[in-house]
Amino acid sequence: MLPVASLLILVPLIFAAVTFFAKTKEQAAGMGLLGSLVTLGLALYAYMNFDSSTAAMQFFESVEWIPSLGVSYTVGIDGISMPLILLNAIVIPLLVLYSWKEEREAPNRFYGLILTMQAAVIGVFVALDFFMFYIFWELTLIPLFFMVNIWGGEKRAHASYKFFIYTHVASLVMLLGIFGLFYAAWQQTGVPTFDIRELIAQFQFFESGMLRDAIFLAILFGFLAKIPTFPFHSWLPDAYSEAPTAGSVLFVLLKIGGYGLFRIILPMLPNTGSPNLIIAMMGLLGSVSILYGALLALRQKDLKRMIAYSSVSHMGYVTLGSAGLVALSVSGAMFQQFSHGLIMSILFMSAGAIHASAGTRIINELGGLARKMPKLAVIMMVGFMASLGLPGLTGFIAEFLVLTFSFVNLPGFVVIALLAIVITAGYHLWAMQRAMFGVYNEKLGDVKDINALQVFSMAVIALLVLYFGLNPSPVLDMMITNSEAIVSLAAAAGV
């Protein structure tokens, strides 16, 4: 058996290093493609050998690292991380293909950063030691910062700093929470450890009080700001919309906030001072995000900003579903992460293609593009439909699970979220109507359709959206297995 978990981090990292030294655009892109394809192969290998009937860690590896702090190199994959790793491994090679023909400065850095990002994100998913977890967590910031800062839009400097510092503060707050957890557990057991599962297990023995809740809330804040949930979302619209297409896609693949909820927050939740209050708060933030993101998306004039706000709206389902604390609502939230990654990739790729061809992303300045860009129009339609939750595509499965099963515990919040569904459909269709349909806006000049590589990469994602929308079980089953384990913890604690 290959040490897949380690290789999944190492391979993209090594290829990233090599890519940085590439001389030409072709070399760089080729290296990027090769690296990401090898990673995809590893991810598929892991998936094939994955046992979805158990919630236990698989491909587990552990080596001591800094014994004096109890830090060890511990990695493993389970049903929470497997789908997200798969998502990353699938989309990145397609992203490389998508960007293949684009002209840009310093392609070696561009593809190098993409691979670095992939390594960092997968690192977060496989790390089972808080020390490592945090390292990878922070590492994700750097490629994204440069992506936005170098190849971004007009306000890239502002957007990149805002994103960088905002989310860094949130991460640091989380880090403080981790410190608290670490020391409290150390005091408890007399042995220092950063092992995530061990620390979570120790959390229930902590003395109740301010400190315990503060630890929990600090970590929770780190994740909520990363997801992001209203009102911690301010960094997102700027960053998503100013980023280059590849950057935006990397952003949507950054599913580490939601992952943290499942891996860390939910298992800890039952042992906090007032779990029901926290559930209610998460439910409220989730549902408000859904509605709020949708309303703001409706108001946007820039296509990418609209998609960015729709992302806020969609990620609200993750928070809401987690708060639902029923096995299927939590699975729905996990599935939403997976689905959202795919769908938003299509949308951002589409918006990027429109911007590249038409020279603008302002919705009202577009018009009738479907005639000039029929291939894009079809794929974009699939993306939009998936995004607005059309059954048969992945978005629906996730939203249905989240809404339905969160209703058991949090009916009021689900009703808030339901209000958003029509608005969600509204802004998608309105944008579609203005940008793609109607009379062609001759001012745009001669607009070219997307190239064959772009068609291929986007179509593959679209087909996956369709496939997993019709048959979600290949990833949903493992999510359910793990959600049941998580929820049974909560049930055992009487929440």
């Binding site: 800094i66 004096s68 922070e138 170098i150 700093y161 880090l175 020391y183 503060a214």
Partner: protein
């Protein structure tokens, strides 16, 4: 007779210094370039001797010197900085006719710092402290045709002298109240200091004296100007080396000798740490001179290290000590990278010659001097505390200790500062990589390249494999508690 082998590193440095000085007199200007290598080997030898003597403990010369884990650790820090400076200065002094003076002063300053690290008596401490100061006054003004360098030296000298006077004044009160200058004996006789107002006065005067070296606000006033105006390699020595001297002296004096006054100095350090890190980071944001920015960032880092005095747990002291080591590599490296850029600008006689370290000189450095740029990137990321670097490791231990001690508010201030610092560090990286270069590609001179690589190695090794350094720092912290 004392076992002088324990002092072998110091002696090696002193002998090297004297030898360099003497050899220089008889050498032609070209041959003087050899002196740098000579000094480097001397320092390497001392480094080897220091590492070799790890784990020994001894009190020497009637207890005026103490060889212990703390002193050894800081000697390691000073020698590492001296090594980096010495290697880098091979290039810097290339065209100078005063190479021997430069190296002699660097070595003597290092010698002084090493004695401070093991001083166990206030007289030794003060003399060694002054040695390190005096030698660096002249170094700061090494470019005596450069108005900025002279101004830097002048400010450093004036504030340094005032601080020395304040420190001596403070020492006199400690002596008066305890009747001794021996650090262990002060601890034993500190009853009078505790019960009288003079205790607080003495503590603050001493803090001012050391705070000058540590560059704690408001005793930092010289630091930005001096770091900016001095030759970059000297700034590296000051920021990375002599700053740590302030810390090691403060560790010994406050934590060992004046432990009875802990409430007073803890409170004072609390105020200073918070003000220092905030001021440093906030003001660094607006800087356009890279060296000045590094100076302010250096203030901020001093503020972080000073948190060790506030938290005062073994973990915090370990963190502070580890931070001192990490900071030595990051800051020395950053200044050496700046030195390379300054060299590039001045040798091309193009660009902002008034302020050769202006941010604009860093434009497109990734293309112009790839090695310097990548090293600088690693250093500033380390300073910002981004994993997996020494800066991250040190911050990790230090910040976490504040949580351990329950000082959440302090931790919050520290992390907010840390996040703020990202702003100006990232800006520098952006200039280096993402703005178009102003000139042709230049190959990084070998000595700078070596020094940078050494510093990068230090930063990364501590960041990725911190265990041995953690162990050493913990040993050193044990001396204090």
């Amino acid at each position: 007779m004392e076992n002088l082998t324990l002092l072998a590193p110091e002696l090696a440095i002193a002998v090297t210094g004297l030898f360099v000085l003497l050899a220089g007199i008889f050498m032609s200007p070209q041959a003087k370039n050899m002196l740098g290598y000579l000094a480097t080997f001397g320092i390497l030898g001392a480094l080897g001797l220091t590492v070799g003597s790890f784990g020994t403990e001894a009190a020497m010369f009637s207890g005026t010197l103490s060889i212990d884990a703390l002193s050894q650790f800081f000697k390691l820090v000073f020698l590492a900085v001296a090594l980096l400076v010495s290697v880098a200065a091979i290039k810097y002094t290339e065209d100078s006719n005063h190479t021997e003076e430069f190296y002699a002063l660097v070595l003597f300053a290092t010698f002084g710092m090493m004695f401070v690290a093991s001083a166990n008596d206030l007289i030794v401490l003060f003399c060694a402290f002054e040695l390190a100061s005096l030698a660096t006054y002249a170094l700061a003004g090494y470019e005596k045709q450069n108005a900025r360098s002279l101004e830097a030296a002048m400010k450093y000298f004036v504030i340094g002298s005032v601080s020395a006077a304040l420190m001596l004044f403070g020492i006199s009160f400690v002596y008066g109240a305890t009747g001794t200058t021996s650090i262990p004996l002060i601890a034993a006789n500190s009853g009078l200091l505790v019960n009288n107002p003079i205790g607080l006065v003495a503590v603050v005067l001493l803090i001012a004296g050391f705070g000058f070296k540590m560059a704690l606000v408001p005793f930092h006033m010289w630091a930005p100007d001096t770091y900016q105006g001095s030759p970059s390699v000297v700034s590296a020595l000051l920021a990375a080396g002599s700053k740590k001297m302030g810390f090691v002296a403060a560790f010994r004096l406050f934590i060992v000798a004046l432990i009875a006054l802990q409430p007073d100095w803890q409170l004072a350090f609390t105020i200073l740490a918070v003000v220092t890190m905030t001021f440093g980071n906030v003001v660094a944001v607006a800087q356009t001179s890279v060296k000045r920015m590094l100076a302010y960032s250096s203030l901020a880092q001093a503020g972080y290290i000073a948190m060790a005095f506030v938290v005062m747990t073994p973990m915090a002291l370990t963190g502070g000590i580890l931070y001192a080591l990490a900071h030595a590599f990051m800051k020395a490296g950053a200044f050496i990278a700046a030195a390379a850029v300054v060299w590039m600008v001045t040798s091309e006689k193009k660009g902002n010659l008034e302020v050769p370290d202006h941010l604009d000189s860093f434009k497109g450095l990734g293309k112009r001097m790839p090695l310097a740029a990548i090293s600088m990137t690693i250093f500033v990321f380390a300073l910002a505390g981004i994993p997996p670097t020494a800066g991250y490791m040190a911050k990790f231990v230090l910040f976490s200790s504040t949580i351990q001690a329950g000082l959440v508010w302090l931790a919050v201030i520290a992390i907010l500062n840390s996040a703020l610092s990202l702003f100006y560090y990232a800006r520098l990286v952006k200039y280096m990589y993402f703005l178009p270069p102003d000139g042709e590609k230049v190959s990084t001179p070998f000595p700078y390249a070596m020094a940078l690589l050494l510093a990068v190695a230090g930063v990364l090794v501590i960041g990725i494999w911190p265990e041995p350094f953690m162990q050493w720092a913990m040993e050193a912290a044990k001396v204090l508690v």
